[in-house]
Point group: C2
Chain length 321, copies 2
């Protein structure tokens, strides 16, 4: 890092892209699709009239007044709504899809979205579920930016027998947005994301809640002394509540499975502390460093100390490479 | 942010400062003490000969070959060793302290350090425990930098009847290093830090361990898809294992108390997921945003999306103020 987007395409990949939902991810797709010349026409819709107004002011893309207007004639439709709203969105647009249209989504859960969306997609169209593993703690159309997906992974979970051309075209789309693409089945996706995303968010929300409720420590103290580690958790605990409620309601099984393992491991650590098992603590604390080194080596994280938060300060932290 | 250190002092605060331990914090004190003209003479010692060699090469400060040499004639001695090594360090230097010398430390636990160090400090010297709440995930003398303590809080926990002049002088020292100073008793410090630092570290170490041990998800998958949230936890889980082992062994009671509450709260969340209580999840996920806003408003965190990791990228994330 920093990396850059490649050159824009000479010819657009699609004639018309429709984005249903203009929050962080939908608006970021609008930015990068325009920047990279991924479509001749980009039309967006959001069920919230206020979001449509703000998106117009931001000149994100053309804004339709209904989902059906947005998808009419589109050859790629991306559902960028919370996981719990995917089924309704699909029901609404299903009858208006152009033959041969590719429908995709950006949901963090794939099995639930597949079963909610699939019944509403006509045989003449293709549903290829996708999940760009990228985000920030901010929400809404103002939060989007063109490099959100840069160097991040986008996971496609096509069903068996899915149209190969549609998969190839969606792959080309995400690669042009700067992403690496991986294909896996929906159930495996949901388990992988339970450990790499869902349970981490749950734990972050939980510790921030625990801190807020402690009677012996004031909120002011929690805030002042948060640089001891706590503040790192508050970032993902500031993520969109609706999106995350839906993730947990729709990936119950995998989340509870991973959470069960987390709890077992934490109970073992708790016991080591109670009984003074310094060697056990040291052993765990030593082996967790390797994973961070791997994440940095794979370009998924900065090597700068403290996430680079000190960068820009006079005599700031040394940068690492 | 970014903030800057104030102008250097016209006259030094101390004649001689001795730093026992030259890791991240000890070396950062050496940097800022030199930069801010806090002492006429700065002498460092580390029990690891290799660290002494590297510190010499870095020209951090004068390097002594023994702790007793380092503290001879010093009017401020700061113990910058892991919490579990404080007692031994104090025993070694106790007989060699100059009358009137101020001894302090930087440990993340204060009750344990007080009882380990106090017996070795002669009546002619003053022990004023301190904890600068600042750090990065890197260790060793190369990791230090002058602005580590800038805008961070330093907590002093003097015992009842501690010398007021010594407290005032140590306060002036940390303020000159760019910190805000707060005074509280050791037991309260240990509880506050259990929630703002110790339990967050424990949870981070734990989830990284859980991820490493999952059989159904490969380490390569954990690394690739870590941008979904997991990577945030790997930063503090890359912190120094010895330091953190000692923290948990020496703040057992407060850590187990806070961990008990964390576990109760997590069990409630787990139950909400199992029974599909969307409203309960939404309510918690909504109220956790306020604490992050407070942390940003108090200057303890950047408002830039994603910790500012996107800054510097072309068309990067919008910055927030």
């Amino acid at each position: 890092m920093p990396e850059r987007l490649g050159p824009a395409r000479a010819t657009p990949l699609f004639d018309k892209i429709a984005l249903i939902g203009l929050g962080l991810v939908g608006s970021s797709i609008a930015h990068v699709a325009r920047r990279q010349n991924l479509a001749k026409e980009i039309v967006g819709f959001d069920s919230d009239a206020d979001v449509r107004t703000r998106a117009r002011e931001l000149r994100l893309c053309a804004i339709a007044e209904s989902a059906t207007d947005a998808v009419r004639g589109a050859d790629l439709i991306v559902l960028c709504v919370p996981v719990g709203a995917m089924g309704d969105a699909a029901r609404e647009i299903g009858p208006h899809l152009k033959p041969g249209a590719i429908v995709s989504d950006v949901g963090s859960v794939k099995s639930g979205v597949l079963s909610a969306v699939m019944p509403h997609i006509p045989d003449t169209a293709h549903f290829i579920p996708a999940h760009p593993v990228a985000g920030t703690e901010y929400s809404g159309p103002e939060a989007g930016f063109a490099t959100l997906f840069l160097q991040r992974w986008c996971i496609l979970t096509p069903t068996e027998g899915a149209d190969e051309n549609a998969v190839a075209k969606l792959t080309a789309f995400w690669e042009a947005a700067g992403s690496h693409v991986e294909i896996m089945n929906a159930a495996h996706h949901d388990l992988v994301l339970a450990i790499t995303s869902h349970v981490p968010h749950l734990i972050a929300y939980n510790i921030v809640g625990t801190a807020a409720d402690l009677e012996q420590v004031t909120q002011s103290e929690v805030i002042k002394f948060s640089a001891g580690g706590f503040r790192d958790f508050t970032r993902i605990a500031a993520s969109d509540p609706t999106m995350w409620r839906d993730v947990f309601l729709n990936n119950k099984e995998a989340v509870l499975e991973v959470l069960g393992r987390f709890n077992e491991d934490l109970a073992a650590l708790q016991r080591m502390i109670r009984w003074g098992d310094g060697q056990g603590l040291f052993d765990l604390f030593s082996r967790t460093r390797a994973i961070r080194r791997g994440i940095i080596a794979e370009g998924q994280e900065t090597a700068a100390p403290d996430f680079g938060r000190h960068i820009g300060e006079e005599n700031g932290a040394p940068t690492r490479s």
